[in-house]
């Protein structure tokens, strides 16, 4: 077969016309089924992930983007223990997703009563440019998804100024002896160490937590990723890392309901129009008390394609 010749052309030469047609049809079916199978596999994967959460437990898994921090104030708390670690605290709460379909909109009112009123009225006749649209207002069905458990909590992570985590400790000595060696090595000031208050040693895991008497020693040691541990004549490098204590406060699982945001449906015929323009008209209509509305915080119309809107506290 000469290079560059189209395979199909070659096959055509060797097959009768009708045989070649059958060959081409089969080829098309194969391509089509292949594409369909790939699509089905992706849909299955999506659903499997969605349904994966075991009943009785749910998760928040979040990668927090880098945020710039600025100095706010200097404080003098009464509780001395607050000086023994650098604490990072924040609130984390689930955002509940709602899939807004084409022809639907969300509108958030400032007052709950206005939202309830607009829902009670059900049908609203809204003028959008020169088109009159009958819009239905309903509560947002937030709980019709698979996830029912949303979480909200205060998290605090404290990096200790007095303790360090030690790992990769070789398993060469009996427990009590190794504990002594650890204390001896970590109190050597020439290596950055300081007076040791206590040593917790896990022989099996090859790890330990060293608590120092003074704050500041931990910081010094953590400037490097490893530390010299002397065992008889040998020097081993053990890995040091910050010792963290984590706390959750005011943790609560809840199911979200929307009281100030309502769902508008029935705008499918507006679909080719610009979402923002329609949004403005809707906003103006629902701001008028004569239309049963009131102060509007936010409007989002979905006319071009469905979008996922997030509900939060």
């Amino acid at each position: 077969m000469a290079a560059g010749e189209d395979i199909n052309e070659v096959i055509k030469k060797y097959l009768k016309d009708e045989e070649f047609m059958k060959y081409e049809q089969k080829q098309e079916s194969i391509d089509r089924i292949l594409k369909e199978n790939i699509y089905l596999t992706m849909e299955i994967q999506k659903l499997e992930t969605e349904l994966q959460e075991a009943p009785g437990s749910s998760q928040i898994k979040e990668d927090i983007p880098e945020t710039k921090m600025k100095f706010t104030s200097l404080e003098n708390p009464e509780d001395d223990s607050r000086f023994s670690n650098i604490s990072c605290s924040f609130q984390v709460s689930s955002q509940v997703p709602y899939e807004l379909q084409k022809g639907e909109a969300l509108i958030t009112f400032e007052e709950e009563e206005v939202a309830q009123n607009v829902i009670r009225m059900e049908k609203h006749y809204v003028q959008i440019m020169d088109i009159g649209v009958e819009v239905m207002v309903k509560p947002v069905p937030l709980n019709s998804g698979v996830r029912f458990q949303e979480m909200i909590s205060q998290v605090s992570v404290g990096v200790s100024k007095m303790k360090v985590n030690v790992t990769e400790i070789p398993d060469e000595l009996p427990e009590s002896q190794m504990r002594d060696k650890l204390e001896l090595s970590f109190c050597k000031s020439r290596n950055g160490g300081g007076e040791v208050e206590c040593v917790e040693y896990d022989k099996q895991a090859g790890s330990a937590v060293i608590t120092f008497v003074e704050t500041g020693v931990a910081d010094r040691i953590l400037k490097k990723k490893d530390y010299p541990l002397y065992i008889n004549q040998d020097c081993h490098k053990v890995v040091v890392s910050p010792y963290m204590e984590t706390h959750l406060k005011k943790f609560q699982v809840f199911s979200g309901i929307s009281k100030r945001t309502v769902l508008l449906t029935g705008m499918e015929e507006l679909c080719p129009m610009e979402e923002e323009i329609v949004g403005d008209y809707v906003n103006i209509h629902f701001q008028r008390t004569k239309n049963g509305g009131g102060e509007v915080d936010m409007v989002k119309c979905s006319l071009n394609e469905p979008c996922i809107a997030y509900f939060q506290e």
Partner: protein, 298 residues
């Protein structure tokens, strides 16, 4: 999957088309069945929400504030009120420069000599490195010792402390079905009470409804199981504050206000690589302070 080779022209010339088509069709049938299975499961869960959670969960009002999904990035949770408290020892100071480049220049010299009339003060400078949480993973599990008390009327004329006290008193009594209360916390959808004994929590959930005296009147309250949270994973990364410089080991020679002035003058001298100082605070010797940092936008 043999189908992967279909893009290869060599394979296209293979005449065992029949086998390939058939196996692809069989594969599709299997995939369709699996998809149907999962869709049914999802529908089932949607229609009977109570199957997913063994007990009703308190409702918290949520609002749409304009956040929509942008591209493929889906932030499922919102992080807010980020605050970092950084302990500072006695005899130290915190200098915040207007320009981060100035801070960088100042930090190039580990030791600084501060000129006074009669002598020089030798101090050390260091950057401020804050531990910022980069990943957080929290999971919830039904608690055997804690319960959630809910059903409070909207406008209760009690302070948080008063309400917690009254609930602890009521549910601390065995005659009410309760027992020793170990922990208590005010939450969005109610109050969490933690008991010393599992049986107490279980018993209270079983009873479910209670009439509790609060501020002179009786109110019907509900007790249900509490899902408690646990941090599965928390990762941090040390991030320097670009405009900040820590001054350490300041000799105890000057008074607070005097020291502040002297430091300000020193760090503003452009000849010494200094520049405009936005803020400068001093920690008196023998004491400690917490420097509080919050997110730039707040």
């Amino acid at each position: 999957m043999p189908a992967n080779n279909c893009s290869n022209p060599q394979t296209k010339a293979c005449f065992r088309r029949g086998d390939l088509l058939q196996s692809l069709q069989e594969e599709q049938a299997r995939l369709k069945m699996r998809l149907q299975e999962l869709q049914q499961l999802k529908r089932g869960l949607r229609n009977s929400p109570q199957d997913k959670v063994p007990f009703p969960v308190p409702e918290v009002p949520l609002v749409f504030r304009g956040h929509i999904q942008e591209g493929m990035e889906v932030p499922k949770s919102l992080v807010s009120d980020l605050q970092i408290c950084y302990p500072m020892p006695g005899g130290s100071a915190l200098v915040i420069f207007d320009d981060p480049k100035v801070a960088k220049q100042v930090l190039q010299q580990k030791e600084h000599q501060i000129e006074l009339e009669e002598c020089r003060l030798r101090v050390q400078v260091q950057p401020v490195e804050l531990p910022v949480v980069t990943t957080i993973q929290v999971s919830s599990q039904m608690s055997s010792q804690r319960v959630l008390v809910s059903g409070f009327p909207a406008k209760l004329k009690l302070s948080e402390e008063e309400l917690l006290d009254k609930l602890e008193l009521f549910f601390g009594k065995t005659k009410n079905g309760g027992g020793d209360v170990e922990t208590r916390e005010m939450l969005h959808g109610g109050v969490m009470l933690g008991f010393a004994k599992d049986e107490v929590a279980q018993n209270l959930c079983r009873i479910g409804q209670f009439t509790v005296p609060l501020g002179g009147r009786q109110f019907p309250l509900k007790v249900s199981p509490y899902m408690s949270g646990e941090i599965q994973k928390a990762e941090i990364r040390f991030q320097p504050v670009p405009q900040a410089v820590q001054v350490l080991n300041i000799p105890d020679v000057l008074d607070g206000p005097e020291l502040q002035d002297v430091l300000q003058v020193h760090f503003q001298k452009p000849t010494r690589g200094g520049g405009e100082v936005e803020a400068l605070t001093v920690v008196p010797p023998g004491e400690q302070r917490l420097a509080v940092f919050t997110t730039e936008s707040s």
